[in-house]
Symmetry: C2
Subunit: 379 residues, 2 copies
Amino acid sequence: MASLSVIQTQTPPGMIDLGRGDPSLSLLPLEMMRAAAEIRFAGEDPSFLQYGSGQGDGYFRLALAEFLGKRYRFPVESDRLFVTNGISNALDQICTLFTQSGDTIFVEEPSYFLAFQIFKDHHLRVVSIQTDEDGLVIESLEEMLARFQPRFLYLIPTFQNPTGMTLSQKRREQVVHLAQERNFLVIADEVYHFLNYADISPRPFAIHTDIENIISLGSFSKILAPGLRLGWIQAHPQKIAQLVNCGLLDSGGGLNPFTSAIVRGVVESGDLEVNIHKLIQIYRERVKTMDSALKQNLPEVKYKVPQGGYFFWAKLPDQMDAEVFQKNAESFKVDFRPGVRFSSQGGLSDYIRLCYVHYEPDEIEQGILRLKQCLDGGG
Amino acid sequence: MASLSVIQTQTPPGMIDLGRGDPSLSLLPLEMMRAAAEIRFAGEDPSFLQYGSGQGDGYFRLALAEFLGKRYRFPVESDRLFVTNGISNALDQICTLFTQSGDTIFVEEPSYFLAFQIFKDHHLRVVSIQTDEDGLVIESLEEMLARFQPRFLYLIPTFQNPTGMTLSQKRREQVVHLAQERNFLVIADEVYHFLNYADISPRPFAIHTDIENIISLGSFSKILAPGLRLGWIQAHPQKIAQLVNCGLLDSGGGLNPFTSAIVRGVVESGDLEVNIHKLIQIYRERVKTMDSALKQNLPEVKYKVPQGGYFFWAKLPDQMDAEVFQKNAESFKVDFRPGVRFSSQGGLSDYIRLCYVHYEPDEIEQGILRLKQCLDGGG
């Protein structure tokens, strides 16, 4: 019997899975994409169906550079942008081009668990660097640099996954300084940067395209639609050239010419700005809803209210084991991600990650209520 | 000054580059894609904008399986198909998942030169296997198997790039047998399989999805449009599972959900069949044109008329150096690919590859005439 699934994450009927990190279907911009596709097909120019320029469609990069420049409030040059199939593809390609089997890399503890598997597929040795409320702990980084020569440090500096923490400005500067001094790359996954619900605006690593060691990864997955598999790398021209001259690009041409030509319409029309504004309004409300529900139902659980991004990172009381809690929660038809999955060391067993982008406010409230019922029931 | 290029390959004005391997812009199916996009957007289901199923959209795989089954004339199961971003992406991912830096792999001599760079990016050791008019020479394969344990053998069994040769049925069976006996993978790049201009129909390696060692790669690049970055892997369920469970997929979901949902319309409507039929008619005529022009203008050049695919593989007279010829041809405003680029050993210096898919018949005639003028001029 063939599987006819279209979507990656499936949840059993009736279950509320607060672990899911994909947006509600109702938030996907079908109308905007339809309008942009109409524009592109009306153009009578079939170039976007041809092997594409290795760096990515020049007109798309120009529109993207203008969008990023406005958002970041510093000039962005389209020649320092490289079009990708999203962050996962960018990470994979960076591993291929800038590492060899057996090399050491650094990650935050905790970090995005699905990146670990990409690093593992490339036979890399993963070393953890501690984090606190201001992100990566510099002393921990220095300590590990005394012991290892990493090829790169992978970090999510803003509204981190899973903790929601943002790296302080001072530490950003220290990371950049150390990368140059000790000759490793910084791979900054800035995917949540534009989903800012409070009045904080950290400077992205994307500003450092004058430094060869700094590579910023961006994506349309969180600000438009994940199914597009479209993102970008912002980096020094020398690094862009290395990416463009790789075998994958030489052979297949640009990574996503068809989709980027359509999405260009969404960027140029201003629809992307409209969409980001809408998402921020909606997610900000969902953060409030989840915060209230947690305070009311689970006052013993500790967390900081996220100021952006996708996640609550919460500490369970009494060193409760999150995986046991998860197992018990199943019969209450609610789910989440245990913290241990974000640890490259098997730690953080009393933490959970809750995501608010997939469900409507009433479902979020219902989900948190079920967690309480599970705890009350001895979960 | 920002580069606004959209297309990968640029040719100087007035130059006829018979080395180009991309189709004419006029052959790109803008109308078919427009119609298919309209269908998908009219559906009101935004699922194709969500993180996609890791193996690829189930409905798309079902349509693809039906198409392949009809074309191949054996049943194809959609569960044995995995959606890719094209052959280059498939090769890259296979290198990541099934090799480590320093491993040995086998390629045909000559072979598709842009694949070499992908293997180099993965720090693989490339060993050449001889070919003749029936494709890979089994004695050469056995000789190298006595000396090396390859992770895989990469070959283009049908209408090969650059030689246009097709591996005989007997040798196909021997390759499959040796792969099982000596435990290496066969990566069969079957991208030209459907572009058949004569009455030969070799059995594709795609038939062997019951054997774990055999992996068939297919693509829409040559039968629909290269800019889609859409292709497939056909393999044993165990290999499909390894592909689906990799980090890249776990994280980003399916590789091309948006585009595959649109292309599904082209497959289901029968437009893909119409397009292949059209391409075969056009390319068959261009083969005749190039053959006549070569016979008339360059009778001293030796080649076999291709029965399918994209290329003439021609031997220059008197051990002429193709790179010197190419340099001289520049002032005659004509270009081609010297054979040495397809050799992993720096050989084949008196061969050239001529492609007929990018130019109209009159341009092909003009290009060959210029080659004659260059030779007459002492090129």
